[in-house]
């Protein structure tokens, strides 16, 4: 069963057609990771799927429904999307930001009901932020801040969560912390996670399903073992990669790589 499917999706960014004629399926209940070189349409695809960017053509189906037939509020109850490195307004507390996740359920003046409060508390617990509820978001570390945004997405109570490079600007430990949180959410609550990641080793470690994109086209999709191959990485990133089975996780990993010259590819910006 697919959570998201795109059909002939075309997306333009700044007038340039970044993605054209893309058919992509995202399996339900799995962690899907999109990889690809800079400027090759990963984020654009994610934004189009998350109805943040309006497609030039084609369609996006959310659980089988054409996303254009749903109101943006309805979509927000089914799908949460976190852009890359979002900024919180100055002075906002963790609890207040997480409470914004209830926005698509609120009407009128939107006083939080006891159900809303329970969900917010649960989201804080799931992201281990309860002790920071009254702290200002600005005063947290990068990893904690990323967890706050994830908690906000959780408070949206959606089965589907899209994240654009959730590990950007985080050090090694924080990266793992965020990805393990998403892993727990997926395994414990069978939420469908779709994310764009730069680090292909982290991608292979946490993904159930990987999609390699170059120039807005899918080069290869499937299990990490199928996508993390020297052949796919060569085509996708123009690198000569050495892939091994990582001893701790049993997942494929790239231990070393070289550039294949001449690159001369317009895709790298």
């Amino acid at each position: 069963m697919n959570s998201i499917a795109t059909e002939n999706l075309a997306v333009a960014y700044d007038g340039n057609l970044v993605v054209d004629d893309l058919d992509m399926q995202i399996p339900q209940g799995k962690i899907t990771v999109v990889i690809g070189p800079n400027g090759c349409g990963k984020s654009t695809v994610l934004k189009a799927v998350g109805r943040i960017l309006k497609p030039r053509g084609g369609a996006v189906y959310l659980n089988g429904d054409d996303i254009r037939r749903l109101t943006t509020r309805e979509v927000a109850r089914k799908m949460a999307i976190l852009p890359q490195a979002p900024q919180a307004p100055a002075g906002l507390t963790v609890g207040e930001l997480v409470a914004y996740g209830r926005f698509p359920y609120q009407r009128g003046f939107g006083k939080l009901k006891s159900d809303d409060k329970k969900i917010i508390q649960w989201a804080l617990e799931a992201t281990r932020l309860t002790e920071f509820e009254t702290a200002e978001v600005d005063n947290l570390s990068g990893g904690q801040r990323q967890r706050v945004w994830i908690a906000m997405a959780l408070a949206q109570q959606t089965d589907l969560i899209l994240l654009d490079e959730p590990t950007t600007y985080l050090d090694l430990a924080y990266q793992l912390e965020v990805l393990e949180l998403l892993y727990r959410l997926n395994r414990g609550q069978s939420r469908t996670i779709v994310m764009v990641l730069h680090d292909i080793n982290l991608a292979a470690r946490f993904a159930d399903y990987m999609i390699a994109i170059r120039r807005g086209d899918i080069i290869k999709h499937g299990a990490p073992e199928e996508v993390m191959t020297a052949g796919v990485l060569k085509e996708c990133f123009h690198i000569d990669a050495e892939i091994v089975k990582e001893p701790r996780t049993g997942r494929p990993a790239c231990v070393s790589y070289d550039l294949i010259r001449p690159t001369g590819d317009a895709c790298d910006s």
């Binding site: 333009a12 700044d14 007038g15 934004k47 998350g50 109805r51 943040i52 309006k54 109101t71 943006t72 509020r73 309805e74 979509v75 927000a76 109850r77 949460a80 999307i81 976190l82 852009p83 979002p86 900024q87 919180a88 307004p89 100055a90 002075g91 906002l92 609890g95 207040e96 914004y100 996740g101 926005f103 698509p104 609120q106 009128g108 003046f109 939107g110 508390q121 309860t130 002790e131 509820e133 009254t134 949206q156």
Partner: protein, 346 residues
């Protein structure tokens, strides 16, 4: 509940109490400012006389001074302060720019141009109706705002906050230049009227002006307060707001229109008062934080205090003459703006 959650709940309750206390404090300051203002002016009235007159026991002269001269002026200054402050708070919220101000959307400039045109064609004396001026100011302010919005709009991206601000500054400069050009052609009485308006002397000191302003505020203030939750979300990155299910462009347009109408109707009766829309939201944010549900009411109160205090000060500083309220708010506001600018560069 865990111990930590209980602690958090207690903290949040404390914060809510504190915010309510701050709002009550602002209201108290406003009442104080009202009392002081009632007792301030060219004719000295003792507080006891004022109080007696307020409760219906005043002499004819006292009644005239208080009810026909001072009271409408105080009410106008407070209402205009509220409207301008809420307008500024809304604009800062939707443009995500702490330096945004109704003046930046061309409101003062557009309204000013219309006032000059009106005076040019109909003269300063032939004021047909005080009720036409808000509409005229609104037309001018609205046209300027639409022009700025259209120029700042980019297909596919919508309206980027920074572009909005920069376009606003440019268009405003253009309109002001045009206004200055026209002002040169005015005769003396016309010029005096326009100069007084531009300096923001609260010239509409009678009850008809209060009546002209009130319907606008009664319509627009509830709308803005109702949208507090939307403003909270619009205050974040557009992509986050869209992800949460806000129709960003539509809400932004609606709120900007409300902000323009609020400021234009206020400016039409109070004259070009600047900086209140900038300073009041900042003060309020310092007092109660960025959540609009509490920020907006406190902002309205601080705005009312600012303008009424400025108007009172304007009446006493250089007695027996007076300086325009708009100049008083600028004396307070301009340095604060520079302070914010310096801080934002760090």
């Amino acid at each position: 509940m865990t111990e930590q959650q209980l602690k958090n709940e207690a903290y949040k309750r404390g914060l809510a109490v504190r915010n309510t206390a701050v709002a009550a404090g602002c209201a108290a300051v406003l009442i104080l400012s009202f009392i002081i203002s009632m007792n301030t002016g060219y004719t000295k009235l003792s507080p006891q006389d004022t109080l007696r007159a307020l409760f219906g026991g005043g002499t004819d002269k006292e009644n005239l001074i208080l009810f026909d001269f001072r009271l409408p002026r105080i009410v106008i200054s407070m209402l205009a302060g509220m409207g301008l402050a809420l307008s500024g708070c809304t604009i800062q919220g939707v443009s995500k720019n702490a330096l945004a101000d109704p003046g930046l959307l061309g409101i003062n400039a557009g309204a000013g141009l219309m006032v000059v045109l009106y005076v040019m064609f109909f003269g300063a004396q032939t004021f047909l109706s005080v009720f036409t001026l808000p509409f005229l100011a609104l037309a001018g302010a609205g046209a300027a705002a639409v022009l700025i919005y259209a120029l700042a709009f980019k297909k596919g991206e919508g309206i980027a906050p920074l572009r909005l601000i920069l376009t606003g500054v440019a268009v405003q400069a253009g309109i002001s230049a045009l206004t200055t050009l026209l002002v040169v052609k005015l005769d003396e009485t016309q010029f005096d009227f326009v100069a007084a308006w531009q300096a923001g002397s609260i010239w509409g000191s009678n009850w008809r002006f209060v009546l002209a302003l009130l319907p606008w505020l009664l319509l627009l203030i509830p709308y803005v307060l109702y949208k507090a939750r939307v403003l909270d979300v619009l205050n974040m990155d557009d992509d986050v707001a869209r992800g949460l299910g806000a129709s960003v462009e539509g809400e932004r347009r609606g709120l900007l229109a409300a902000a323009v109408m609020l400021a234009a109707s206020c400016v039409a009766v109070s004259g070009s008062i600047s900086f209140v829309g900038l300073v009041a939201p900042h003060l309020a944010r310092r007092l109660v934080g960025p959540k609009h549900a509490i920020l907006l009411p406190v902002c309205a109160l601080t705005g009312a205090v600012l303008v009424s205090a400025a108007d009172t000060a304007a009446r006493v500083i250089v007695q027996p003459s007076e300086i325009p309220t708009g100049i008083m708010t600028a004396i307070i506001g301009a340095p604060y703006f520079l302070y914010l600018l310096a801080k934002s560069r760090r």
